[in-house]
């Protein structure tokens, strides 16, 4: 216990020393920030996030490759992202056919609607609608039993523009209620349907527009106006209404009965999720698959700390133990250890890791398994330098007269190492630990960018995906929201640990202490 008390005094001493310096304060502050955010991340981001991250369907409704929504405060025109769940459908019986955007509505008609305001000169990317809650019960009527398979449903999505034009956004497709209940895919914006309507609309006004042009620019034309003089599409600001309409058709049922049943909630669509994919999203924007970068970066906080700390702690433990043994015992043990260090410190870390990563990818290892293998190799190849320094420190401590004095009183080697050698190495080891943390994080990120993917959303992964996006030719260099945050976070984390390390160095090397 007395031996343990000794260790704690060292640590305490370091802490007081570090706190007294500006750099130490900044370092500790930043690290505290990273730790707090990591804890928040553990609570806030679901732990199955890597599964969601790799699930393309999950991100379908989000706008693709858009900056964060707060860019509007800097004067960038933003079409907001709107995602609403509508439970307030009204069902009516249209005895007279009603024409809307070339569609004839007749019979049992259920309508959900919501408004979308376009405040700035920007285009949303599109509109998606999900039938979220569909009751597909069997309906018992006096005339017989009606099964969900017997009810045909057609879904329409109408866009009522501020200028009065109404567009049908999807290509209607009859399906049974049973199918509608099981199909999870959304009712999609159809370029073809919209394009046809727009060509007709513009041609009627004497504006020449081809079907191809209309289809290629359908989303923008739907929320904008075509200027035949400049051949430009200008956003149409104002309030739009999006109307989601389901028509129900069933044989052998009194339509009034069906209306009542739908309104009562015993059958039919209960709620609808309407999404307008704006041109900006969330706190940190999205990538080309619509994935929320904020969530990915937040999820990565504890992972980054884990990578850094596990690699650094293992490195330091191995380095200190091996270094002390090598320096203290000397002889052939020392010789073997020194030659081993010569060998491992001459192995190029990055190429080896790229090779190992490639092999793992081939064998289908990914996720945490791959991450651990990477950390393992960072440790195996990383402890050499520290061991060399600790060895030379041990050699110099070993020649101190008080070590001889300890031997003379009969202290065992273990006791001399624990009580007289280690306490002097601990401050240095702590500084080395702190300096080691960003190294592991940056190497892991570097590997991701070099193509070794473990498919966990880490900062390195996010950065690597940005690289892919740019190099695949589809993207621009202006995806700053995608590149800067992971880069800055990595930089900030490095700065935090380097500052702390520099502050700790003054404990190790008192000559650096400033008056």
């Amino acid at each position: 216990m007395a031996l343990l008390g000794e260790r704690f005094r060292e640590v305490e001493e370091i802490f007081t020393e570090v706190k007294g310096q500006l750099m130490g304060k900044i370092g500790i502050g930043l690290i505290l920030f990273f730790v707090v955010v990591s804890l928040y991340s553990l609570v806030a981001v679901p732990r199955n996030f890597p599964d969601l991250w790799n699930n393309v369907k999950y991100w379908e409704k989000y706008p693709k490759t858009v900056p964060p929504s707060w860019v509007s405060y800097f004067g960038v025109p933003v079409a907001p992202f709107v995602d609403v769940v509508l439970n307030n459908g009204t069902t009516q019986l249209y005895l007279q056919p009603k024409q809307v955007a070339g569609v004839t509505l007749f019979g049992v008609v259920q309508t959900f609607s919501f408004n979308y305001t376009l405040p700035a000169d920007a285009f949303p990317q599109g509109v998606l609608v999900y039938a979220r809650n569909v009751t597909n019960a069997t309906l018992r009527t006096p005339m017989g039993v009606v099964k969900p398979q017997d009810i045909t449903v057609i879904a329409y999505v109408f866009l009522h523009r501020p200028d009065g034009l109404v567009l049908l956004l999807n290509s209607p497709n009859p399906m049974t209620l049973a199918d509608l209940a099981t199909v999870k895919s959304p009712i999609r914006f159809s370029d073809k349907t919209v394009g046809l309507q727009l060509v007709e609309y513009y041609n009627k006004r004497g504006v020449n527009m081809t079907q191809t042009y209309a289809q290629n620019n359908a989303a923008r034309l739907a929320f904008g106006e075509y200027d035949p003089d400049t051949h430009e599409i200008k956003p149409l600001k104002g309030t739009y209404t999006i109307e989601v309409v389901f028509t129900y058709l069933a044989r052998n049922v009194d339509p009034r009965l069906l209306v009542r049943a739908i309104n009562a909630g015993t059958i039919g669509v209960q709620s609808v999720e309407g999404v307008v994919q704006g041109n900006a999203y969330g706190l940190m924007g999205t990538d080309d698959k619509g994935r929320d970068l904020y969530e990915a970066l937040l999820y990565a906080f504890p992972i980054e700390l884990l990578i850094g700390f596990v690699a650094a702690v293992l490195n330091v433990i191995i380095g200190v133990v091996v270094g002390v043994v090598s320096g203290y015992y000397g002889g052939w043990v020392d010789e073997v250890i020194q030659r081993t260090i010569d060998i491992i410190s001459n192995i190029p870390v990055l190429p080896i890791l790229v090779l190992i990563g490639a092999a793992l990818q081939r064998e289908g290892v990914s996720g945490w398994g791959m991450l651990w293998v990477i950390i393992l190799f960072l440790v195996i190849l990383g402890w050499g330098y520290l061991a060399l320094v600790v060895r030379s420190m041990t050699l110099s401590i070993k020649s101190e007269p008080y070590i001889d004095a300890a031997k003379a009183i009969g202290a065992s080697n273990a006791r001399i190492i624990l009580r007289h050698v280690l306490p002097q190495i601990i401050p240095y080891a702590m500084a080395a630990l702190v300096f080691n943390v960003p190294g592991a994080i940056l190497t892991e990120a570097g590997l991701s960018v070099l193509g070794i993917r473990h498919n966990l959303p880490t900062w390195g992964t996010v950065l690597a995906l940005a690289r892919d996006y740019i190099s695949s030719g589809g993207g621009n260099y202006n995806i700053w929201w995608w590149i800067l945050p992971p880069g800055l976070l990595m930089g900030l984390m490095s700065v935090a640990f380097v500052f702390l390390g520099l502050a700790m160095e003054t404990v190790v090397e008192p000559r650096l202490k400033r008056m």
Binding site: A2, E6, E400, P401, Y402, D404, A405, A406, K407, A408, I409, G410, A411, S412, R415, R419, H420, P423, Q424
Partner: protein, 366 residues
């Protein structure tokens, strides 16, 4: 009064350290070269006696001291042995476990024949004080931790309170009073003399029978030397300890020691009762050393000293054949009749009576 039987005895002790060579050099030549730090030294120290080893730096006196308390790695002991007579109680405690060749006679232990693992209890009675009071105390430990360590190592005192009692007592013995004031100090909060007294206390707390004092005052201010020396002398009388006192200062040796041995490049060249050796030095080297002692008479300060020695200290690696002092010896130049022996044969220690012996061919029978 010194007893009759010795406490510690060196028998033809040789301590050689191999010169480390580069990989290539050791591949090219099989021959290993050594520093002959101690090269055939024999003496014994009796109970209550203070025995001095004097000589210039590098002559092997510190190595001899360290070897007596087994701080020299056994592989460097080339020949000879160190015999130690522990207290009766300790002997009975360790003897049953020792191999028979480690006990050359009843009550005596061959220090380097004891296996490393079994040597620990013997360390209680073999202690050493080092020259550098700044280096010999771990700067990170308090006085109480430094003094408690030997007790913990040897399982003395079962409770911290018991150990503290002993620590307080030993601090009083070395006159660090009041002890409470010193217990929680770090070495850097102590003066040089106080530090050396803590070092003495650390050696003393185990009740040693034999203690090596390796130049214990040479790094202290002159003003506090007397204080430390007095403590050492008092302890010797109080505990009847045998002491090996290593010094390069003959004036100091005269004040402290009962007997003295003068060493030159790993060998004892002259040995005898201190007063006898100092008042009647026989060996040319001892004479040179005596002449080098500054005289406190201000009348003499402008007088040029006549140097009774020439050249530089012989290397301990390439020792010349014959007498190792020959290259520096003024008597060798002056006495032609002795030269042939000096050049070929190593002079043995020649008994000159009254316990005084000298290793010089000048005193050999012709």
């Amino acid at each position: 009064m010194p007893g009759d039987s010795y406490v510690i005895k060196a028998e033809d002790l040789r301590v050689w350290f191999p010169l480390t060579k580069g990989l290539l050099a050791s591949l090219l030549s099989r021959q290993r070269r050594f520093v002959h730090a101690v090269d055939g030294v024999s003496f014994e120290i009796r109970e209550g006696e203070t025995f001095c080893l004097a000589g210039e730096s590098g002559c092997g006196k510190s190595t001899t001291g360290r070897t007596l308390v087994r701080l020299t790695p056994p592989e460097n002991i080339m020949s000879g042995r160190v015999l130690f007579r522990p207290s009766r109680k300790l002997f009975e405690e360790v003897a049953p476990r020792l191999p028979s060749h480690a006990i050359p006679e009843e009550g005596v232990v061959d220090v380097y024949a004891v296996p490393e693992k079994l040597f620990k209890p013997l360390r209680r009675e073999l202690q050493i004080i080092f020259q550098d009071p700044f280096g010999s105390l771990n700067p990170r430990l308090r006085v109480r931790d430094i003094l408690e360590e030997p007790l913990i190592v040897h399982n003395i005192g079962s409770t911290p309170e018991e150990r503290l009692e002993r620590i307080v007592k030993v601090l009083e013995t070395v006159k660090l009073t009041p002890p409470d004031e010193f217990l929680d100090r770090y070495p850097h909060q102590l003066s040089g003399g106080q530090r050396q007294r803590v070092a003495i206390a650390r050696a003393l707390i185990l009740n040693p029978r034999f203690m090596v004092s390796d130049e214990p005052v040479s790094m202290l201010d002159v003003s506090i030397r007397a204080e430390v020396l007095e403590i050492l002398d008092q302890l010797r009388r109080q505990f009847n300890m045998a002491q090996l006192f290593i010094t390069h200062d003959l004036a100091l040796a005269r004040y402290v020691c009962d007997r003295i041995a003068i060493m030159y490049v790993g060998k004892i060249v002259e040995m005898g009762p201190t007063d006898e050796v100092i008042s009647n030095p026989l060996h040319p080297y001892t004479r040179a050393l005596m002449a080098a002692i500054p005289e406190p008479d201000p009348e003499n300060r402008k007088r040029l000293r006549e140097l009774k020695i020439k050249g530089e200290v012989t290397s301990a690696v390439d020792i010349p054949p014959g007498c190792r002092f020959r290259p520096r010896c003024v008597a060798y130049d002056e006495n032609e009749w002795v030269r042939s022996r000096c050049e070929t044969q190593e002079p043995p220690l020649i008994d000159m009576g009254r316990g005084h012996s000298v290793a010089c061919w000048l005193y050999a029978k012709k």
